[in-house]
């Protein structure tokens, strides 16, 4: 089977499991919504400040929810020795990485659409460029999913994985949070042209971590 076929197989399997279990819909999505709601309650007296910080709050909510999705992506491999089964199948580690990254990214994009609507309603923001929001969202999601999948496998075999994953991931993901927040500020009431350098940063980060993941995930997957 080609690498693309293996990637499709792994991504399809992960997405089918998530569609069946509805963990993303029933737990991750409500969790992100609650985070947004809590921020809204905390900052409600100052409606102007809420709109100003909306991009940052949105991405913090996405990041916290992403930690759950990434943890879930590796938790399903701990069931019934499934991880050994996947390793024994001979599927290339790069294909497992790309498949899992795509599955996590698809869930995050769905999450972002719903949370984005929540931000618009709760925080009262003005959209000045949909294109900027979409491109920045896709680039940031790719970086977040790739980095999360790469660090997720490091923590996968450990009993402390739930606490270790945020500890490993959050410092590394800082450029994504910064770039995505700045780009969204430009797309939500700001000057859209100012977003593109940040989108370029997000794109470079995504390319870097997808490349590192393709090379490094296999050995980590074998030995973690």
């Amino acid at each position: 089977m080609s690498l693309a076929g293996e990637v499709r197989l792994v991504a399809g399997k992960d997405l089918r499991i998530e569609a069946r279990s509805r963990v993303t819909l029933a737990q991750v999505l409500p969790f992100g919504g609650i985070v947004l709601l809590l921020f809204a309650f905390a900052l409600d007296p100052d409606r102007g400040r809420l709109a100003a910080v909306a991009p940052g709050l949105f991405w913090v909510a996405v990041l916290l929810a992403a930690l759950l999705a990434i943890g879930r992506s590796f938790a399903i491999e701990q069931q019934n020795g499934a991880r050994d089964g996947l390793r024994l199948s001979g599927i290339d580690g790069a294909a497992v990485f790309l498949g899992k990254t795509i599955a996590v990214a698809a869930q995050l994009l769905l999450l972002e659409v719903v949370l984005g609507l929540g931000v618009a309603v709760l925080y009262g923001v003005d959209v000045t460029s949909v294109v900027v929001l979409v491109v920045a969202g896709v680039a940031a999601t790719a970086g977040l999913a790739a980095t999360g999948t790469l660090f997720g496998v490091l923590a996968a075999g450990l009993r402390t994985r739930e606490t270790l994953l945020p500890l490993l991931l959050l410092p590394v993901i800082t450029p994504v949070m910064l770039g995505a927040t700045r780009a969204f500020e430009s797309g939500l009431g700001g000057e859209p042209a100012e977003a593109w350098p940040w989108i370029a940063l997000l794109g470079a980060f995504a390319v870097l971590y997808v490349s590192v993941g393709v090379l490094a995930f296999g050995p980590l997957w074998e030995d973690s």
């Binding site: 197989l9 069946r20 279990s21 069931q79 020795g81 050994d84 089964g85």
Partner: protein, 237 residues
């Protein structure tokens, strides 16, 4: 004949503990090799080393023509390890799990469907793994092994949890294995059930493999690295 499995003084450490302390073993195509020995002797470790899931720390290990010291993954497409767990996903159905196992191993999804019927799981085809009984899961574990259509089938206590019908199906799989181009290594304590089907018995004691049954099988097994005497298992009457 070139052996399918060739181990020479293989040592596998789990931490500092030598789970395998110098195993020599040759297995040729079409054999059904029964691994016996007390709990903790290293039978499961030996199977996991052969599958490439555990590394060898000393010695030479060649499986299906691949040197495990160089690459522990290259031979995996042609083997299956049926262990204590099913390697399945709770939220996928029996059919979906088997098709995934087949396709992930580079086989057609139909091979997974055939394994489903062979293990008598047709009635549970659309039942999620998480809803299967323990006995059905054991059958599914065997079906997953067959869905990979392996040349080398590694079975670790395959009778555990199987009902009478399942044990008959397992016996049929073992009997048919050489004709289907499969070589089998199975670790088992169910000697009454497995000895009549095995072409040879290898005793694993203290991380070392020794013994042979029945003669004149290839002389595959010698003592451990420190020259400990081989344990010879008498042929069954």
């Amino acid at each position: 004949m070139v052996p399918l499995v060739r181990l020479r003084s293989v040592v596998c450490l789990l931490g500092r503990f030598p789970a395998l302390a110098g195993v020599d073993l040759d297995v040729v195509s079409g054999e059904i090799v029964l691994l016996t020995g007390p709990n903790g002797a290293g039978k499961s470790t030996l199977l996991r080393v052969l599958a490439g899931l555990l590394p060898t720390h000393r010695g030479d290990a060649e499986v299906l023509g691949h040197d495990l010291g160089v690459d522990r993954r290259a031979h995996r497409r042609d083997l299956a390890l049926v262990g204590h767990e099913t390697s399945c996903y709770d939220d996928l159905t029996t059919r979906e799990n088997l098709r995934f196992a087949a396709r992930a191993s580079g086989r057609d999804a139909a091979v997974g469907d055939a394994a489903l019927e062979r293990l008598g799981l047709g009635g549970q085809a659309d039942v999620a793994h998480g809803r299967l009984s323990a006995g059905q899961r054991r059958r599914l574990a065997l079906a997953v092994g067959l869905a990979r259509d392996p040349k080398l089938l590694l079975l670790d206590e395959p009778h555990a949890g199987l009902d009478a019908e399942g044990r008959v199906l397992l016996a049929e799989i073992l009997v048919a294995a050489p004709g289907e181009g499969r070589t089998v290594l199975l670790a088992s304590h169910e000697l009454d059930l497995t000895r009549p089907l095995a072409t040879r018995e290898v005793v694993v004691v203290g991380g070392r493999a020794s013994g042979r049954f029945p003669p004149p099988a290839p002389d595959p097994v010698v003592s451990g690295v420190d020259g400990a005497p081989a344990v010879i298992v008498e042929p069954a009457p």
